[in-house]
Subunit: 127 residues, 2 copies
């Protein structure tokens, strides 16, 4: 029964989403990977970590995790070359959009963007 | 005071980790991005989603989120080209390692790996 319910939910999502089309409803999982300009600088890394932790003050950010690469198994599929990781949850797409323009987020970008060389963002909707 | 405590915690982590070295302690955040061989196939996508949802039966998996790309703002830094996203939390590195060898995880790989063309994994430790 549980499997049927899960299948029905998945099908409903698929129907709403359509093949190859991004989703529009659900909880947003926002992940960001940062590569520092100075990857060996603990000071720069900690400044970025401190800056990221200010973002939990944004009301739309429901949960914030800030991390550094884990020393897991070296496998071809694992890319732990990044310096700092940020994970946020939003209730919906509107929350993520509001966050992007929030003064605390804009201040973070203003204060910390000189620290990174590259940033990659992925946004997902939970199904 | 809160800022001082956070700073001290960050410094402790930095000390334990060292410059440019991966961390060894903390909660593991395991993210996986899948690119399907047939990215326009809803059936393949849903088969992968269903397979991923079996992984929450692994005791070491403390939380599981499965998602599809969100229709967020198109920005240069956003890569929503993946098909399916998986997010897991583990209590520690040992939990992640046990999960890799768990029969339910191995069965998932056996049953679903034909569906994807590319997979990228990132492992972080919360600081």
């Amino acid at each position: 029964m549980a499997a049927s319910a899960a299948s029905a939910a998945t099908l409903a999502t698929a129907s709403a989403v359509g093949a190859g089309i991004e989703a529009n409803t659900g909880q947003v999982v926002h992940t960001v990977y940062f590569w520092l300009k100075n990857p060996d600088s603990v000071a720069d890394r900690d400044a970025l970590i401190a800056g990221l932790k200010t973002l939990k003050q944004v009301p739309e950010v429901k949960s914030l995790h800030v991390g550094v690469p884990a020393n897991t198994e070296k496998r071809d599929v694992v890319d732990n070359s990044f310096s700092v990781f940020e994970l946020m949850f939003f209730d919906d797409l509107a929350g993520q959009s509001t966050y992007q323009q929030h003064p605390i987020h804009l201040a973070f970008v203003e204060n910390c963007s000189h620290l990174w060389d590259k940033v990659v963002v992925h946004d997902s909707l939970t199904v």
